[in-house]
């Protein structure tokens, strides 16, 4: 995205466009008028992904941070960076704890975001209290970072119900399995808010493989046509289970897809939480100010297999994984904050302690054998059960009563 409240108009330097190329309506035209930049400058992502802190934890020179005209980003404040770092550490601990719980048989499955924690945390932290987020099944860390109880978040994967939290209470959509279908729900939530004159922003998450789905197209187009405050956030972790990005798209980047919808796109280093906070923060701000939707693509990597049921060694090389180990989002942030004097041993210990508390909460919560009520099967199909469901509910109740009776009588037999 190339338009910001802080943007300096190029004035005389703006190249005059041929009349037939001029866009006369919409967000792009507004940007052209307001900032004296071209339509292409408004919609096209920067030439390189925005990175502020490199993989060694060094702050890039200002000119390399994202300083192209229309792509200038301010460095987030220290407090914001420390809060993000804390969430990164917690997120990593959550990922590793959950993977361990799957191995122990306490959860059915866990799609880990190990390696993608910077995206998870920045997505959650860039929003205001009244904003909504629509996560996928891999975005549990973002859900928790929005304030949903960790154990409630993991209910989907524990297997006693499909979702453990109230989406409307937390303004967090139900974690979505059918790819990109949730992007349209985000569009609808934003549309309803806009019709009521509320300044809600909605952040909608999906992955690289998901951009091949039809609903990705429909959601971006609807959001653009209705000029809605939605930030589409694509975590490009390079793989859709086993299929690499090259099999999904030959676009110059996924962020370039924004142009086709008349919205602004940007790409960012998805393992640099500083750049993510800057880019997503400004996207949210612009959307709230009325820019219409924006598309942000984060380059990151799924360090582990798709889920515990997947074997990543069948489709990718160790050498490739090793490259991404060096780009770890936690390590570079720890180095950066330590070098800046913002993080010392005490601070690090306090954060580690916080992460351990969440891990304990998960172990205890998911270790509990939560009783399931078979009658719940019928309770939430309709607001009022149909006569057919009442019959089926009675049938199951009768079956269970007979089983219990049989159990009791066989116990009695055994006691004799």
């Amino acid at each position: 995205m190339t338009i910001s409240a802080d943007h300096t108009a190029l004035g005389q330097d703006a190249p005059e466009q041929p009349a037939e190329n001029r866009v006369t309506e919409g967000a792009a035209a507004e940007a052209v008028r307001k900032f004296g930049i071209t339509v292409e400058d408004y919609m096209l992502p920067a030439r390189h992904q925005i990175q502020m802190v490199d993989q060694d934890g060094t702050l890039n020179p200002h000119t390399e941070q994202g300083a192209q005209p229309g792509h200038e980003y301010a460095l987030p404040g220290d407090a914001e960076l420390l809060a993000a770092y804390e969430q990164l550490v917690v997120g990593r601990r959550v990922n590793d704890q959950n993977s361990a719980l799957v191995r122990q048989g306490r959860m059915a499955v866990y799609p880990s975001s190990h390696g993608q924690e910077a995206c998870q945390v920045a997505a959650a932290l860039s929003l205001a209290d009244g904003d909504w987020i629509f996560p996928t099944y891999r975005d549990s860390v973002a859900v928790m970072a929005r304030g949903v109880d960790p154990v409630q978040t993991m209910t989907l994967f524990r297997g006693d119900w499909h979702s453990g939290y109230d989406p409307t209470k937390h303004k967090v959509g139900i974690q979505c399995t059918p790819l990109t279908t949730q992007l349209l729900h985000a569009v609808g939530v934003a549309h309803a808010a806009k019709l009521r004159g509320e300044d809600t922003v909605v952040l909608a998450m999906c992955g690289d493989g998901a951009t091949s789905e039809g609903d990705f197209h429909e959601a971006l187009n609807f959001a653009a046509v209705f000029h809605l405050p939605v930030v589409f956030f694509v975590q490009n972790n390079q793989y859709a289970i086993s299929v690499p990005l090259a099999h999904q798209s030959v676009a110059p980047s996924l962020a370039h897809k924004a142009v086709g919808y008349g919205m602004a796109g940007e790409r960012v280093d998805g393992n640099d939480v500083v750049a993510l906070l800057a880019v997503l923060g400004r996207a949210v701000k612009l959307a709230r100010e009325g820019s219409g939707p924006l598309l942000v693509e984060a380059h990151t990597y799924r360090m582990q297999a798709h889920t515990n049921a997947d074997d990543a060694t069948r489709y990718r090389q160790d050498s490739e994984v090793a490259q991404w180990v060096a780009r770890d989002p936690l390590k570079r942030m720890q180095t950066y904050l330590t070098d800046r004097g913002l993080l010392d041993d005490d601070g690090a210990a306090r954060i580690a302690e916080k992460a351990e508390q969440v891990a304990t909460q998960l172990r205890e919560g998911l270790g509990e054998d939560v009783p399931v009520d078979p009658q719940d099967l019928f309770r939430y199909v309709f607001s009022t059960p149909t006569p057919q469901l009442k019959e089926q509910s009675a049938l199951l109740a009768d079956e269970l009563a007979r089983d219990a009776g049989a159990g009791a009588s066989s116990d009695t037999e055994a006691a004799k």
């Binding site: 909504w132 119900w161 499909h162 979702s163 109230d166 989406p167 409307t168 209470k169 959509g173 139900i174 059918p178 279908t181 992007l183 349209l184 729900h185 985000a186 569009v187 609808g188 939530v189 934003a190 549309h191 309803a192 808010a193 019709l195 009521r196 039809g214 609903d215 197209h217 429909e218 959601a219 187009n221 609807f222 046509v225 719940d376 309770r379 939430y380 199909v381 309709f382 607001s383 149909t386 006569p387 057919q388």
Partner: protein, 370 residues
């Protein structure tokens, strides 16, 4: 019928808001006093307008529903009356329409959306099955989706391919969706109001060949009935109706097949056979009680539906009646349905559609000889 209304504003040439309102009210009352001949299209249109007047969270959107008023004109005038924020056109994408409705319903709205034709709704199937139908269940009741998906369906209009599908079985098979289908003009109004009132998602299957069917209907009476129901917490939802009483056999039909069943019953009466016609009205929830009471009384039944018979609503009805009425039956239940072929081209559709003769043949087969 419509007396001239003279207002003080016209006399004085000075329009105040209050007198304009009074004039509008008087005109509306004058226009709608007593029963009038109206079409099902008008009844559906009035139902939406009344619901939009009553509740500002009711929104109408879809393809061509705005300035055009829909390809069948069911949303005619709604944009003009309520503005483009209440009734509007969307990009041409059915999954987008339904998916956006899900989000709107999550955020306090009551969307009434139009799928332009039965077969054009298929791109939205994933949104309908995986989200619309399941959201309430997945969230343990925390999120209700009060969405009405209006589907002009079925054939008999000489439409080209992809415009005449009977798609009700797909939705009826999906747990979490209510499926209504009106066969009368009054039910057009009644069912759409009840669908909009429902906190659960409703597929309103509108028989497109009945859009221009006319009946003498008292809209004021229907409005009063709706208001009284709302006050009592009652409705006609989930109830079948006896469309024509009879004693010898029961014809069970819904939507576009109800008028055909009534015509068959009229023809049978001339031959001295008294057929009862049951209009199912609500496929989900299903009214076993009314259907079975009729079959127990007559001892014979024919189920009629335009849709293919195999694995369909009609096969479900036969199964249910057989399970509940076996000892009352004098003959196996017969079905008259569309053949198990893709919906035919216009010049062939009359071979496909259940007609009076085919229904009477089925009735003749119900083992009348002792």
């Amino acid at each position: 019928m419509s007396p001239t209304v003279t207002t003080s504003s016209e006399v004085n040439g000075n329009v105040s808001a209050a007198t304009a309102r009074a004039a509008a009210k008087a005109a509306a009352t004058a226009e709608s006093t007593g029963p009038q001949m109206i079409t099902m299209a008008k009844a559906l249109n009035t139902a939406m307008a009344d619901a939009m007047h009553a509740d500002s969270s009711v929104l109408v959107f879809g393809e061509d529903v705005g300035m055009l008023g829909g390809v069948f004109r069911i949303t005619d005038g709604l944009t003009k009356t309520f503005g483009e924020s209440r009734c509007f056109d969307t990009p041409l994408a059915e999954s987008g329409i339904v998916g956006m409705a899900v989000g709107m319903a999550m955020n306090g709205m009551r969307p009434v959306i139009e799928m332009q034709f039965d077969a054009f709704a298929y791109p939205a199937f994933e949104q309908i099955v995986s989200h619309v139908a399941k959201m309430h269940n997945r969230t343990k009741g925390a999120v209700k989706l009060p969405i009405v998906i209006r589907v002009p369906y079925a054939g008999g209009i000489g439409g080209v391919e992809h415009h005449c599908d009977s798609s009700e079985s797909y939705y009826a098979h999906t747990a979490g969706l209510k499926v209504f289908t009106p066969a009368t003009v009054a039910d057009g109004y009644r069912m759409l109001r009840e669908a909009i009132d429902s906190d659960d998602p409703v597929m309103l299957m509108e028989p497109k060949k009945l859009y221009w069917s006319k009946d003498l209907v008292d809209l004021e009476g229907l409005r009063a009935e709706h208001a009284a129901n709302a006050e009592r917490g009652t409705s006609s939802e989930g109830r079948a109706a006896v469309a024509r009483p009879g004693t010898d056999a029961t014809l069970i039909a819904y939507g576009p097949s109800v008028p055909t069943a009534l015509a068959a019953a009229a023809a049978a009466a001339e031959e001295g056979r008294s057929l009862e016609v049951i209009d199912i009205r609500s496929i989900v929830p299903f009214d076993d009680e009314t259907v079975c009471a009729s079959v127990r009384k007559t001892g014979r039944a024919v189920v009629i539906a335009e849709a293919h018979g195999f694995a369909s609503v009609s096969s479900e009805i036969v199964a249910r009646v057989q399970e509940r009425c076996f000892h009352y039956l004098a003959a196996p239940i017969r079905r008259v349905t569309g053949f198990d072929v893709p919906y035919p081209a216009p010049k062939l559709e009359h071979y496909y559609l259940p007609g009076v003769d085919r229904i009477l043949d089925a009735v003749d087969d119900l083992q009348w000889e002792d």
